[in-house]
Structure formats: structure tokens, C-alpha cells
């Protein structure tokens, strides 16, 4: 099931016929303060793949996502979404991307239904299509009874589900989930995993950032570790463990962040 190729050869036939869902080359993001959040990141995510991006706080995960979705403007480099330039001609690329951010960034003035309806409108969906999709998503995410309530009255779990539903509203081909399970209880986390797997089974490509290594291990086809704005390792969970000569993803992660003394395997052996 895993997509084993890291980056297709430049100008290859396969690349021309089947563009990567996400293709990032030499991406640099330098903030006006001088902080270099991304230092030449290159990455390929294949269509249909569930790709995990792991790294400590401040590693550059959210900046990378913001660059892909237009919320941050890259300093240099290229980003393509299914072959469409996401920086210079962003309109077409953005149509294909759905973003569920870590923050519950819902509009307090809108009801649950309006949140989804307006989002569909922003992506050019006709009214009839929006209505059908809203009904479908409210049902899927168990929010039908809350459709007329303002978003600020929802519980944290409901807000989290609504953020995910909103990202799916316009049927994106690439879904970006930034820490979707951060701070949620076990029940909701499992519920969200279920949704993510369902979306993936429908053929949607997913880029997932998470702090939970077991989440990445269980859900992702391939994983990239990002640290200090650079991709430092990339592969399947098993190949990453093999690459670092450890037993699992957690130990590989600890090797990368330079904290191998925290390894549970090492501690129990000692």
C-alpha cells in the first residue's frame, strides 16, 4: 500500500502523465524577523497517499502547510498541487486543497450550516450542490441537530468535527490536516481517525501533521520528519526504523531530535 518513490526523476514520462498530488521543491520561507522557518524543503506526495509530516514544535510543519494553502507566502521555491502552480497561479491549485487547521478557527457569527455553505460558496459550488453536500456532511459528522446553532456554542469536539467537515465541503483532492487530534479525548481521536480513513478510502490524498507517533504509524503510508525547517528523513514507518537501526517510529523520531536517551526500549533494557 505504501508509495515507495520519494521523487520522480525530472522530466520523466510518469511524472508528465501523473502529476504528484503535492510537489514541493527547494521551498524556503524566511520571515521579516529573519527567522528561516523552511530551508529548502523538497517533498512529493503521490495521489491517493496518506502522508505524515512529523516534527517537534517549531520545526516548520505549519509553515509548510501555510505555504501550500496560500496563508504564507514562500520566499523561494515551487509548490505544485496536481500539476498546478500553487504560488503564482494559486486559484486552480487552491480549488483542489482542503485545509483543517489545528486552531478551531470558526467564524463566531455563523451557524454550523452557514459555515459549510459559505465555504462551499468560496469555492464556487452552486447552491443546489452546496445544500446536498451540507446535509451529507452534517449527517456524517453527527452535526445535523446543531445545524442552526452558532459555532461558538458548540463543544470542543463538535468544533473539531466541523473544522474537518468544512475542509471536506468542496470535495478537495488534497486534504491537509494540521494536528487534527491535538488536545482531543480518546473517543474523538478514534472517531477522527475513522473519518480520515474513510476519506482516504474515497481516493482523497491526505497530508497529515501530528505529534502522535502511533497515529502516524497507524494511518500513514509514508512519513517525513521535519526538523529546523528541513526534511531530515522520509520513508515508511518500517523503513525509517530500519534506517536508524531502531525498533519503531518513536525511537527513530528520538534519534532525529537528538533525545535517544528517552527511548522506552533503551530505558527498559537498562
Amino acid at each position: 500500500m505504501a508509495f515507495e518513490v520519494t521523487a520522480p526523476a525530472e522530466g520523466s514520462t510518469a511524472e508528465a502523465s501523473l502529476p504528484a498530488a503535492l510537489r514541493i521543491r527547494d521551498l524556503v520561507k524566511r520571515y521579516p524577523t529573519g527567522t528561516e522557518a523552511l530551508r529548502g524543503v523538497s517533498l512529493d506526495v503521490a495521489p491517493g497517499e496518506l502522508f505524515g509530516l512529523l516534527g517537534p514544535n517549531g520545526a516548520g510543519k505549519s509553515t509548510l502547510i501555510h505555504c501550500v494553502t496560500g496563508l504564507a507566502l514562500p520566499t523561494s521555491g515551487t509548490i505544485e498541487v496536481f500539476g498546478h502552480d500553487a504560488i503564482r497561479h494559486a486559484g486552480r491549485a487552491r480549488e483542489l486543497v482542503g485545509l483543517a487547521q489545528q486552531d478551531l478557527n470558526l467564524d463566531w457569527f455563523l451557524t454550523v450550516e452557514e459555515t459549510l455553505d459559505y465555504h462551499g460558496g468560496y469555492f464556487g459550488m452552486p447552491r443546489r450542490e452546496r445544500r446536498a453536500r451540507v446535509t451529507e456532511l452534517l449527517e456524517t459528522f453527527s452535526l445535523t441537530e446543531k445545524r442552526d446553532e452558532r459555532t461558538r456554542t458548540l463543544s470542543g469536539g463538535m468544533k473539531r468535527r466541523l473544522v474537518l467537515a468544512r475542509a471536506l465541503m468542496h470535495r478537495p483532492r488534497l486534504l491537509i490536516l494540521d494536528e487534527p487530534t491535538a488536545g482531543v479525548d480518546v473517543e474523538l481521536r478514534l472517531e477522527l481517525w475513522h473519518y480520515v480513513q474513510r476519506v482516504r478510502d474515497e481516493g482523497t490524498t491526505i497530508l497529515l501533521t501530528t505529534h502522535y507517533l502511533e497515529e502516524a504509524e497507524q494511518l500513514c503510508d509514508r512519513i517525513a520528519f521535519i526538523a529546523n525547517g528541513e526534511i531530515v528523513a522520509e520513508g515508511t514507518s518500517a523503513s525509517l526504523a530500519e534506517q536508524f537501526g531502531v525498533s519503531g517510529l518513536e525511537d527513530a523520531y528520538l534519534e532525529i531530535v537528538g533525545r535517544k536517551e528517552l527511548s522506552r526500549a533503551r530505558m527498559s533494557a537498562e
Binding site: T63, G70, L71, G91, D103, H119, Y122, G124
Partner: protein, 255 residues
Amino acid sequence: MTATQIRFLALLRREINRFLKIKRQTVGAPMLETFLYISVFGAALGSRIDKLHGIDYVVFIIPGLIMMAWAMNAFSNNASSILQQKFQRSIDDQLSSPATPLELLLAFSLGGFLRGMTVSTLTFVAASILVDVPVEHVLVVIPALFLVGFFFAQLGVLIGVRAEQFDDVSFAQTFVLQPLIFLGGVFYSATLLPEPFETITHFNPVYYMIGLVRYGFLGFTEQNVALSLVLLSLATLALFAVNLRLFVSGYKLRA
């Protein structure tokens, strides 16, 4: 309907929906405020004031009040709406959509513009019930009010984009806009002011806006109408160009 039209309507509907959902604050309060101005300055004090340039005082102040309602509401709506959305980060939903900078700017601008138009239209209707408000030059009133509304809508967008806290918006409103509007001659004629205040008033752009609107309603002005219209158009265009540049560059909107 094309995808672009659907998108623009959705962006605009969101802005209109926002101010209609809090209409007691966004429409009701400004209406009451204007009614109080008419009552206090027009009916109560006005009866003690002689005519100004041959016009009843209460009638003299109504064009300025209508303009002020449009200006203040267009400004405060846009500044608050953008800042609130930035604060909640819900603006990311629009910013990560395929909407172009021009579509976003127009939608944000028109939200306040339409709120201002609603309040000033209701003000006009209410004032017309209380006193006889003439409309001498409708072809001046309409473009003048539209330009004033659009100018302040742009100013609201500019402040909303630049603002980092709610204090920034209220500072601009309380310490810059309100003095400019009040000292621009809403409640008096600049010719009544002693020097150097009369001359100073001529450097206040709002003075020319009020003059234009007053000319449209009452047929009286202290300024050159054509020149004022041209200058107001140029100022509005310049402000629009500045805002468009901010939206294209993502200034304080995109990281």
C-alpha cells in the same frame, strides 16, 4: 452563474450576514444616535438658532448627518469585521480559497458600504418624516454619497488590515475620524468660524465631502462642486489602489 460570481456573492453574503445578525448594534444604534442628533441639535437647540444661509438649522444639519451615518458605519463595519476575522483566524477560510485579492477586497469593502447605505437611507426616511428634507440635485447627492461611502469603506478596510488589536480601530475612530467629521462642518457652516479655524477647516477633506452632500440636498455649498467631486474620486481611487496592493502582497493577512 459562474464560479467567480458564486464565490464573490458568498464573500459578500458573509459580510452582510455579519452585520444583520447584530443589527441592534450595527443598524439600530446608529439610527438612534442620528435621531438624537436631530432631536438635540435640530429640534431643541435649533429652535434657538437663526437660519444658516437662509436654511432652517435642523434642515441644514441633516445632509451632514446622513453622510456621517454612511461614513462611520462603512468604516467601523469593515475595520471590525476584518479585525475580528483576523483575531479568530476565521479569515483563513477566505484567504485559502481561490478568491483573488480583488474579490476579497471588493467583498470586504461592500459589506461596510451596504451597511452605511442602509443606515443613511433609514436616516433620510426618518428625517423626512420629521422635517421636510429637499433633494435639489439628485445627480450630485447620489455620486457624492456613494463616493463618501466607498472612501470610508476603504479606510475601514485599511485600518482593519493594519490593526493588531481592537484598540487600534477605536483609536482611529475616536481620535481621527470623529474629530474630522465633527470639525468638517456637520453641525455648522465653516464661514461662521473665527480665524484661524475657518482656514484650518479648509484642510479637512471631510469639509468638502459634507459640502458636496449638502449641495446635493439643499443647493447650498461653500466649495467648488466639480472640483470636490474630482478630488473625492481621486482620493477614493488612491485608497482603493493602496488596499489592493496590501491584499496582493498579503500584508498582515498572510504570513
